[in-house]
Each structure stands twice: as structure tokens, then as C-alpha cells.
């Protein structure tokens, strides 16, 4: 374990940003696997999408200083994050609509109790 002052005073490397992104992603994975409430599962998917966005932006930022064409690559990566954001919005809309329709019919929001397709 590195001393705290060294980490805080030292440079901000790509490694650190990717560690943070993978930690958030794994917390989201744990939530999806261990929770029953569909609302919380959808929120955990948002966590994972945000972790991926953070990794994309950090990778683009590291490319920006590395090569002459870097700023263009950084901007392309950020444009891609905008697309991911639109996908997240569409996912939230459709996911919550399915949840509402399922709640109207079965009066439950627990993933384990909506088991019509279970063989």
C-alpha cells in the first residue's frame, strides 16, 4: 500500500483512472447479482455504464497528450460517450416501462417472482 501523501501528491496516471472505473463496474456487477428489486438492478446497470464512460474518457485523455493527432481521438472518444448516454436514456425508459407493465400485472418488483418464462 502506497503512502497516502505519495498517491495524492503524485501524478494522476491512466492506471489510477482505470482502477477507479473497474472498481465502480464491479460494484455494479455485485448489485445486479445480489439484489432482487428490479429498480435497484436498473440503477446498478447505470453504475456500470458510468464506469465504462469514465474509462473511455480517461483513455481518450491519455491519447490526447501522447500523439499529434491525440486531441482528435480524445474528442472522438467523448462523442462516443454522448452516444452511450443516449443508449442509457433509452435503456432506462424501456426498462422502467417493462417494470411498470409487470407491476400492474403481478403486483411485484422482485426479479425472482416474475418467472412466467421459467421452465
Amino acid at each position: 500500500m502506497m503512502p497516502l501523501a505519495m498517491v495524492l501528491g503524485g501524478p494522476l496516471t491512466l492506471e489510477h483512472a482505470l482502477f477507479l472505473a473497474s472498481a465502480i463496474f464491479c460494484i455494479g456487477v455485485y448489485g445486479v447479482l445480489s439484489r432482487q428489486n428490479v429498480l435497484v438492478i436498473l440503477m446498478c446497470i447505470e453504475l456500470m455504464l458510468n464506469a465504462a464512460n469514465l474509462a473511455i474518457v480517461a483513455l481518450g485523455r491519455s491519447m490526447a497528450a501522447a500523439t499529434p493527432s491525440g486531441p482528435v481521438i480524445a474528442n472522438q472518444s467523448q462523442a462516443f460517450v454522448v452516444v452511450v448516454l443516449a443508449v442509457a436514456a433509452a435503456e432506462a425508459g424501456v426498462g422502467l416501462a417493462i417494470l411498470l407493465a409487470a407491476y400492474r400485472r403481478w403486483r411485484t418488483v422482485k426479479a425472482g417472482e416474475i418467472n412466467l418464462l421459467k421452465g
Binding site: E46, N50, S62, A64, N75, A88, V109
Partner: protein, 180 residues
Amino acid sequence: MDAVVFWGSGLLSIAASLLVVTRRNPVYGAIFLVLFFTTISLDFLILRASFLAVIQVLVYAGAIMVLYLFVIMLLSLQPEEIKEEVKPARKVSAAVFAAGLFFLLVFAIRHSPRVRQAPDLAGDLAAGAAPIGTTEAIGIELFKSQLLPFEVTSILILVAILGTVYLTRKRAPNPAGGGR
């Protein structure tokens, strides 16, 4: 200074995401998710993505979380409806799987030569380099190199709107009664 802000917001975002995952009441989870989105927006600012930082607060913390809270309030779940009986064995195996995935990712990141050689994220750009992260620069990329993903996204959103309206419309009552 950049590193201090990045680690501060990073630790805060990990704490907020842990609270999102562990709170039983989804209303508290949604509130902590707003805090999480704000800390990610701080990270975007450090990484010179100013447009994304604003959009993160506007779209995620503003629009998407209001949608979540709206649905939570619409359902107005009773305490016994949000009570979860997850077996401890399932929780432990989920934690082991998530921790294993994390260590796999850390291992891959630590052993990647390209990640190790990457320059300091807080360093300056080359003199005269094009600006990054501004609204103009992202807009130009979105309409030049990312035109096809942009157009496909518009179709995706159209389909999502149609699907949402179709799924939430009022149905005639089921004569056979509910599934349960």
C-alpha cells in the same frame, strides 16, 4: 491538485455506489445515485471533458434520475414489497464473483505496457494543440467521424419511444385474471 480532486471524488463515488447497491429502499438508492453522477461529473472535469461534465449533470442527474424517482413514487411500494430475502450464499457468491472480476481487471491493467507508458492525465497538452472536450469539438466529431453511430442512435431512441408507449398503454382487463 488534480490528483487530490480526482481521488476525493473517486472515493466519494465508490462510497456512493456502494450505498446505491446496499440500501433497501430504492428512494435512498436513487438519491445516492445522484451523488454518484455528480462525482463522476467532477472526474470528467479533471479529464478535460467539460461538455460531458455538464451533460452528465443535466441528463443523468437531471432527466434520468427524475424518471427513476417518478416511477418509484408512482409505484409507492409498501415496506413489505421492498423487503428482499436474498440467501447469504447468493450474496457471498456474487461478492466473490465481483471481487474476482475486479482483481482480473486490475491484473490486466497493471500488466498492460501501453497503460504504463501512457502520459500523465493531468499534464498539459502540446502547445497549439486543438482544444479537447469543448462543445464545438465534440459536435464536429459527432457530425463528421461519428455520423453513422449518431444516426443509428436516433433510430434507437425512436424505437425506445415507441416501445415505452406500447408497453405502458392501458390494456383491457385480462379475463383469466393475473398470472398469480
